[in-house]
Symmetry: C2
Subunit: 308 residues, 2 copies
DNA sequence: GTTTATTTGTGTCCATGAGGCACAAGTCCT
DNA sequence: AGGACTTGTGCCTCATGGACACAAATAAAC
């Protein structure tokens, strides 16, 4: 059965259900807000389309035929499903309130997510957003968070993952700095330049690079180590050395000419490099507050993609 | 949710299902035989009606929103039910063949049901009708019959019962007979008249009468006993005495003036007096041959009611 | 018996709205 | 940069669903 053949019959089936439940055409017509003659025609049309007589009817009594009973049962199911579809939609908009716990990394939260969360809360004033800013990757089940946002090319497989964006690390220096130093054309050149590292782990001074063909690792040195991207941007702009920045942190500085991107052909592998992942525990029927949050973030990530 | 609000949305829901299953508007439009713009508009209309965004869509990709997923599930159910309704109707007309076993009492079968069965077999040439004519009331389960037709005001409660008509017993005599005897005005008068009994049971000569207010029993006598209604009609017409006939047996004779109905104010209780019952075993999904038989008999009984 | 009210069904007419068409805007691929 | 394909919108046309009037049938009322 093709859907295009089916569609005009759907309304007729709904009318059939009303007729059977009301007991006659006239009552059904009143309930449907149309005239009895319209009801009569629709039922006839349905009978013609299905090829069977559904109702045994005289002017004074109405009854389903035996063949019609089965058809009616399915029609009733059909209407009930449709009603449930509508009810599901209504309840999806009605109660969007409660607590929503979200974990996100510091830098991303401050520079990218902040305006999103503000707008979200304005859209849904009855939702209370509890934002846990941390660079640790929390466990949604044990750490009591509903959503986990993190930057990673390998999202947690046990959780649903929605890619809502991507962060690239850009290696930068200030124009002043470059005027006084040799412009690096290969990762190895960085050995001889002061570099600004994160300094969170012991290996943070081992920068791993890759391009289409090769991989290489460079051990860099520098006098300023800090794990705050905006402060690092400031340090780079001040000419303290070469440093890596998330693209969203670097973008304005590059546009303003305060930062010069380096080694564009190479990718810098580090913890702040990869897809922005929105992850949460799988469940068929989640609360509305969760659903609207996912939809909102997805929507915004699409809009951001369009803008860029 | 009123049905009249729901109806215009049903087709839109079907379109939504097609869109999601096809993956984009254009493919869905091709499948539905309409233009993509029409699809776009219907989806928008559905979203407006439901008050939620169902699909997150750009020009290159399409995805259900979280809120939309639940709505979609119900819409899919809705379409599936509708398809089942259509399929049920198709199969109801496709295979109407096989053996149908019907038990009916002699007199009714010969004088009333015979033309119905003939017409039924002409309508459904692939059905084989096995008619068991007997005045015993058979057990549909143990005696291997699908339908049981009998005359009784108290149908078997374990079976589904469809009243397809009514038989009244009429007490008659011939004009010749009445010319030579006193016209009875009360059941008691029958004691002094020759009466024609069925003679099947020992108590068949005890005729029980009732009217609005009273009941009475008369023990009658006569020289001719026979349990075949048409032969009994003949005996009455020949002036052998007063006898009871089913109304359908007496009708022609009364109209032709060969029979005179007696004691019209009284009802004669006997085995051939009551509703004509079509009974069969309850089952939700019976074979098509059974369904069309029920529908046919119901339909004919309605037409007979209209004629009379 | 007659009337009255209510039922289903069938014409005819008309307004609503669904869909086609053309086009715009956006996106991916080459 | 250009081509192919996407979704979305304005405009117009025509099919269709429904109102209306009426007929036929039936059950109840009187």
């Amino acid at each position: 059965m093709d859907t295009n053949k089916l569609m005009p019959l759907l309304a007729d089936m709904a009318i059939l259900v009303t007729v059977v439940e009301q007991g006659n055409f006239s009552k059904a017509a009143r309930k449907l807000g149309i005239t009895p003659s319209a009801v009569s025609r629709q039922i006839s049309r349905l009978e013609d389309a299905l090829g069977i007589k559904l109702l045994q009817r005289t002017t004074r009594q109405l009854a389903l035929t035996e063949s019609g009973k089965i058809t009616f049962d399915y029609c009733k199911q059909m209407v009930e499903s449709a009603e449930q579809a509508v009810n599901a939609s209504r309840s999806a908009t009605s109660t969007v309130s409660g607590l929503l716990r979200v974990a996100a990394p510091k830098s991303l939260a401050n520079q990218v997510l902040r305006p999103l969360f503000v707008e979200f809360l304005k859209c849904y004033p009855d939702i209370q957003l509890h934002l846990k800013v941390t660079d640790r990757i929390l466990d949604p089940i044990h750490d009591g968070v509903d959503f986990l946002i993190h930057i990673n090319d390998y999202p947690i497989e046990a959780l649903v993952n929605v890619k809502i964006g991507r962060v690239e690390q850009v290696l930068c220096a200030s124009p002043d700095f470059l005027a006084n130093h040799t412009l690096p054309t290969h990762p190895d050149d960085l050995k001889y330049l002061p570099c600004i590292c994160l300094g969170e782990n012991m290996t943070d001074n081992r920068w791993r690079f890759s391009n289409k063909n090769q991989k290489t690792t460079v051990e860099v040195t520098g006098s300023y180590l800090l794990n705050h991207s905006e402060m690092r941007r400031d340090a780079i702009e001040q000419g303290f050395g070469v440093g890596s920045l998330p693209d969203y942190t670097a973008q304005k500085g590059i546009e303003a000419g305060k930062l010069i991107p380096l080694l564009k052909d190479w990718h810098l592998q580090c913890s702040y490099h990869g897809d922005i992942c929105l992850q949460y525990v799988q469940s068929k029927y989640m609360p509305n507050k969760n659903r609207v949050f996912i939809d909102f973030i997805k929507q915004k990530s699409l809009e951001i993609q369009q803008d860029s």
